[in-house]
Subunit: 385 residues, 2 copies
């Protein structure tokens, strides 16, 4: 395998972009990423998206997006996998460069959720679940997470306040992120008292479905160094899967896909969990963040509540988690989320993360899932000299 670095990144602000379509968002992110990487000749594009055929009636995104962004007539692969599409595309891009298939690739993710009424978002997002066995009976993704929250609180004597405090921390982080969807602070009381989504989870335990695009350019270090000053290498990235139907799972307190992908990525990267300086994890709901931190071996089983209370996951804590604000407060633009994480961690390791910067971060982790962990991709990025 060849070494793979991130040559450049680009992001749009995450928001309800009522005045902009899916291709406008993609164009902005791609243009920024190409500029940031010295406008290289990309040989293959990977486009991640979860819901454009449902929301924007556009099923064939590759040519659609590339033409408008002025990318030229370059081969393009459209990658799906619901909210895990970004991670899946990142894996494809990495493997294309690592295997020698391509020298320079661009991985872009884009999602436009705000073209449908907010109440339809739940049914759109439930397409990542098993329709015939579960969604058709009324179960929602929020419902699964709520069951997981109840189960977690009971099993580990965690408190409702601890879950809410995770949201408080994410919102605090987002205030410093110019790309964040919800850059304002909240309090535990506000979280608990906001309107219920699926008890015990409330509106402010949930990540906002919104619009955004992110892109990263990947290349070999030899090529990238001619174009730009990158110092961020992808040293591991692995994907794993689990049953989609939760009725096939023995517990909701862990996601086999995350555990498996993380083990493989740590091993591939020769990195131990205690070496991770900063991480961007998939906190679709507050409880999802708890489970992720434990599945990634960053926090001991059942101890995330305490870790949230004692500042472990804060930006200046031992395990700085989601300095961007995470899905919770940076926002959750479906298939783009996994690409945002790569862009964010790259900026962290380059020391270019501005107000969200974790001091001295040299090793970062990204974690993107689909549904309730039907699929998971874990990436490990390292700064090199």
């Amino acid at each position: 395998l060849r070494r793979v670095v991130i040559a450049g990144v680009g992001m749009t602000r995450i928001d309800q972009h009522f005045d902009r379509g899916i291709r406008d968002l993609f164009k902005e992110a791609v243009t920024k990423a190409l500029d940031d990487s010295g406008n290289p000749e990309v040989s293959h594009y990977y486009v991640a998206n979860a819901y454009a055929s449902l929301i924007s009636d556009q099923a064939d995104l590759g040519p659609f997006l590339l033409e408008y962004a002025g990318c030229g007539c370059i081969p393009v692969t459209q990658i799906g996998g619901a909210c895990g599409a970004g991670g899946n595309a990142f894996l494809e891009g990495f493997e294309a460069v690592a295997s020698g298939k391509s020298d320079i690739v661009l991985v872009g993710g884009v999602e436009k959720m705000s073209d449908i009424p907010q109440k339809q978002v739940t049914s759109v997002q439930s397409t990542c679940m098993d329709q015939e066995y579960e969604a058709n009976y009324g179960l929602t993704l929020a419902g699964i997470n709520a069951m997981a929250a109840r189960s977690y609180m009971q099993r580990y004597s965690a408190t409702r306040e601890q879950l809410a405090l995770f949201s408080v921390q994410m919102h605090k982080n987002a205030v410093k992120n110019p790309y964040a969807c919800l850059p304002f602070e909240v309090t535990t009381d506000k979280v608990i008292e906001s309107f219920p989504i699926a008890d015990p989870l409330t509106f402010l335990d949930s990540s906002p479905a919104c619009d955004g695009a992110a892109a990263v350019v990947m290349a070999t270090p030899e090529i990238a160094q001619k174009l730009t000053d990158t110092k961020v290498e992808v040293t591991g990235v692995c994907q794993s899967i689990d049953s989609v139907s939760i009725s096939e799972r023995s517990t909701l307190l862990t996601m086999k896909s995350t555990v498996d992908a993380a083990e493989k990525a740590y091993s591939m990267s020769r990195t131990r969990p205690d070496q991770i300086d900063v991480c961007e994890i998939h906190d679709a709901f507050t409880i999802t963040g708890f489970i992720a931190l434990e599945d990634l071996s960053l926090i001991e089983r059942g101890k995330t509540g305490i870790a949230v209370e004692d500042g472990t996951i804060a930006k200046d804590g031992k395990i700085p988690t989601n300095p961007s604000g995470g899905l919770k407060a940076r926002g959750q633009p479906g298939g783009a989320t996994g690409v945002y994480q790569i862009a964010e961690i790259t900026q962290q390791l380059m020391g270019e993360a501005g107000g969200t910067q974790v001091e001295g971060a040299e090793i970062g982790l990204t974690h993107n899932i689909s549904g309730f962990g039907s699929g998971a991709t874990v990436g490990i990025l390292r700064r090199y000299a």
Copy 2:
């Protein structure tokens, strides 16, 4: 690049499978392909699909399909691109093996169109068009093809009967194909008099949207020869794109994406068009087949009508075209179509195509597009000693 062979193939009958879901179809095709290739250890799955999120409310197909098919916890990438998804996935699978990234991959395509009323199919298929610029104003894919047909007939003095005769030939071929959706004969009169879809094209000029799944296992020859008796190598496969919006095109009589992909695939494979013994081309409508044959340099510009009349494209003709019956009569199961083509050409080159066999076929071509050629993938397969 390493050499890549097709180690095994599997298909379901194409039909309106009202009694079977998307995962049942996928399982059948994958099980057959794995059996056919000696049940190898697949290291990566590629799943092509166009419309499952719109029709079956399933957006995260990788884990969903693999679990039910009993494939185990193997990395999986879901590939989109409307009706060109199968070709796109074939390209990814090929490149994975060729680059050394994977030793054995499975490329599967699946589509289930019959879960919605037939009249909704038009709007589902129009998601491969530009919604904001064209589909929203009432243009349909059939409409674009009808304009192309009018334009073609005028430009080349082709007749309505010649278009209809293409359909007659495809239906004749399909009678011998046990997997075909429409295995019955039609006459030119019947085609012309069947109900109009978009004048001059009628129902029997159009391919039926239906259900089906196909899968192919790809590996290096060294690995494949330990498992099976394959003799079919993929010597070229290239993808190209064009504008989605037809208002950006200067003509409807050629698809730039096909021309470009074909040129590259011929060159990669060191094959001339006149060496092709058998082809499976993307004839979504009769006129689409005309344009494809000319874009692929298999027939001279404007001469397809005559070639249809004089038997050139018949199974025993000079350019045996779609012995399966093509999209027109084998059927058009969206994202699975491109994978069917690979499976069919593989059987042809192995001499295992039964009643559809083209005698002595040693070099075959596959051609899969999305929309009206927004994307195109051309593959060239060769039998080796």
